[in-house]
Amino acid sequence: MSGKTTGYFLRRSPWPCNLLGPLHMRRISANASCRCSSSEPTKQGNSVKISQFIPAAESKHDWVGPPHRLSNLRPIIYHIPENETELEKQLRTLRQETEDWNHAFWTNQNITFNKEKDAFVLSQLKEKGLTERDEKGRKRALNSEEMAVFYKHFLDENCIRHANYNKDWYRRNFTITLLMGRVAFHSVWRTLAERRGWKKGGPTT
């Protein structure tokens, strides 16, 4: 690793993250909440999400799509049952919002990563006195040791952002799973209650 590349980035410690640093990506949360939960599947086809897929009307399940080309996350179209309870609606809303929030974060992450990587490669090539493309017209690239400097820098730079995302994601994941558990429990309870009511009401009719 040349001195130039190491000089490009500094810092070395096992705990570079200051976990008590400024919290939250309000910007991203705000973005996500703007695209929050609409019940119509057509609204999924906004400028960020490419697919305009609309599931068949008789389908009673959620639909999961291919990975998005920027965020690599798979969009889900949630099925809305006719007699959706308040709890189910809350769950669906939360899942949709989390999905949007996740999507925004990863899109931003991937785009930033690739932009910065490009910039890094260009700067290193310039320092070496090389052009972006070689004589055959192919893009020049750096070897993995040189790239490793960039990878390290990217991690260090985004340490706090990643830590905050992590915290948020865990919290959301837990909440969603708990809600799913409650919804599942209630629907089982409801089914049992209906069956019991039918059995009681059966002989009399």
Partner: protein, 541 residues
């Protein structure tokens, strides 16, 4: 007929249970959910996916995937037809994938989830469309966002790729699809054949890919639309899903280490306890792996190695995964605590906690995660030993020490070639943040294995032949670790990783064969049947 398997980065690592699934003939679910029958060629380094598994998998898959079985059959037939027609061309197309992913995995590509440069041999049959009964489909490095394929060539990798890839891929071109949409496919096919033939002709290096977009927007939309799947539990797929969720191959290795720990304990061998301890450990491992995947869904989506996990693909819901984890974990730990002994149960619970609540979050916070992970790996043999003896003897700690030391060359080598993915995914691994330390630690611990082997006779765990017979393999892995330390390149990392995969089972096996025979007061001269005579190489006392 050449056995086809799936091309994906996982095979580079070979460590994930995903690799096992990928070794089967897999319909419609390679890399992403494509509904057309897709037979993928897998990059077979020395991966643990075996052809036999694949053959078995074919028959199993045909039974399990009922509705796909017909397509399976059709596509297999078409493939045969194609191979008969022009076998050399066919092999050409497949050959270009050889070692391709080694280079590709370093590319800065957004769309990791799509098989960007994985050429999928798509065999399509359409009765309505006479002209197209086979096509080659290549998935692009989609560069709608201003980003192009960036390749970080290693000299030796490049040359390997060069020799192995006579067909250069204009891999950024999307070719072929929509048999189901004949009009658009007809418009697509002429340019597609042009592209393919130019690919065949150019035969140059694959570093640069011309960005020729062949697929029309409608065709792409149609293709994306077909990839939407209904989220309902498919019972036929559940065993496979559970296998992936529990990382069945890793679990098997963990159970093997626990079994070795049990067998090495200097007590009479009790088959019932052995079985229960193995089962309990396996269940605990399933739990830990499921919870790990449950936590890591968005991260797994963005890394090539893990993007085909069940939760990422939406095959089951998060609640289902947690339910599965509980169904495995509660009986597993209960079994260990009640049927084996409380110490083993406690160790099992501790291990689950360490893995899910310490290692998994720490992966994104600090490089200390690797050391925690090494402890997690060291606990199963200790559990096996305590299951047999009921006590934490030095022998147990020695076996745990083997696993602990082994973990570093294994994981550091693995993570070396995944640096870009780790960086983009926000994982703090030594290989990214402290590359020098990464190599040093791998070397140090490989040498440590030699020292630990010498402790075997000292602690009365093995006879003195063990350090001798294990010396060759320990020296070999140390040598590879030294090469990795010196060169620090992809191929040395890969060699070290694959060596570690066979080194550990071999080491434990040798330890078993050199187990010290137990002479107790009742005059039992030999231990159980699990201690066969030492290898002929060893000099007898």
């Amino acid at each position: 007929m050449r056995h086809l398997k799936c091309a994906c980065a996982v095979c580079l690592t070979g460590s994930d249970s995903h690799a096992q699934t990928r070794s089967k003939w897999r319909l419609a679910t390679c890399e992403e959910d494509i509904r057309e029958p897709a037979l993928c060629y897998k990059n077979m380094y020395k991966s643990t996916c075996s052809r036999l598994t694949g053959l078995v998998g074919v028959s199993v898959n045909q039974k399990l995937f009922g509705r796909n079985a017909i397509r399976n059959h059709k596509s297999a037939r078409s493939l045969l037809q194609m191979s008969r027609r022009d076998p050399s061309q066919w092999i050409h197309h497949l050959n270009f994938l050889k070692r391709q992913y080694v280079m590709r995995s370093n590319n800065a590509l957004y769309q990791r989830a799509k098989p960007k440069q994985t050429a999928i041999l798509t065999v399509l049959e359409d009765h309505r469309d006479d002209g197209m009964d086979s096509q080659i489909r290549q998935v692009p490095t989609i560069d709608h966002v201003p980003m192009v394929t960036d390749v970080t060539p290693q000299p030796e990798t490049t040359t390997t790729n060069m020799t192995a890839t006579p067909v250069s891929s204009p891999v950024s071109t999307v070719v072929a699809l929509a048999v189901l949409k004949p009009p658009s496919s007809k418009t697509v096919s002429p340019p597609q054949t042009k592209v393919v033939s130019s690919a065949a002709e150019s035969g140059t290096e694959m570093l640069e890919v011309p960005h020729v977009q062949v697929e029309s927007d409608e065709a792409r939309e149609a293709r994306l639309e077909r990839q939407w799947k209904e989220l309902k539990v498919d019972l036929a797929e559940l065993p496979d899903v559970y296998a992936k969720l529990s990382k069945i191959k890793l679990t098997a290795l963990v159970v093997w280490t626990a079994a070795a720990g049990f067998a090495m304990a200097p007590v009479p061998f009790d088959p019932a306890t052995f079985f229960l301890a193995s089962l309990g450990t396996g269940l605990a491992s399933c739990t830990a792996n499921s919870i790990n995947q449950y936590f890591e869904v968005p991260f797994d989506s963005n890394m090539n190695r893990t993007k085909n996990r069940p939760l990422v693909r939406g095959q089951i819901s998060p609640l289902h995964a947690v339910g599965f984890a509980l169904v495995c974990g509660v009986p597993g730990i209960t079994l260990l605590t009640l049927a084996v002994n409380p110490l083993t149960g406690a160790l099992g619970a501790l291990n689950i906690f360490l893995y899910t609540c310490c290692y998994t979050p720490l992966k994104r916070l600090s490089i200390i995660n690797t050391w925690v992970g090494a402890v997690v790996g060291a606990i199963p043999p200790i559990m096996g030993w305590t299951a047999a003896t009921g006590a934490l003897d030095p022998g147990a700690l020695l076996l745990g020490g083997f696993l602990y030391c082994w973990q570093f060359p294994h994981f550091n080598a693995l993570s070396w070639n995944l640096r870009e993915d780790y960086s983009r995914g926000g994982y703090r691994m030594m290989s990214v943040t402290h590359p020098g330390m990464c190599k040093r630690v791998a070397l140090r611990h490989s040498l440590g294995l030699i020292g630990l082997s010498a402790l075997g006779p000292v602690l009365d765990v093995t006879t003195w032949t063990f350090p001798l017979v294990s010396l060759p393999i320990n020296l070999y892995i140390s040598y590879l670790a030294f090469r990795f330390y010196q060169k620090g390149d992809r191929s040395s990392a890969r060699k070290l990783f694959f060596c570690s995969l066979w080194h550990l089972p071999m080491l434990l096996l040798l330890a078993l064969t050199c187990k010290k025979s137990r002479t107790d007061k009742e005059g039992v001269a030999k231990t159980s049947s699990l201690a066969p005579a030492p290898l002929p190489l060893a000099v007898q006392n």
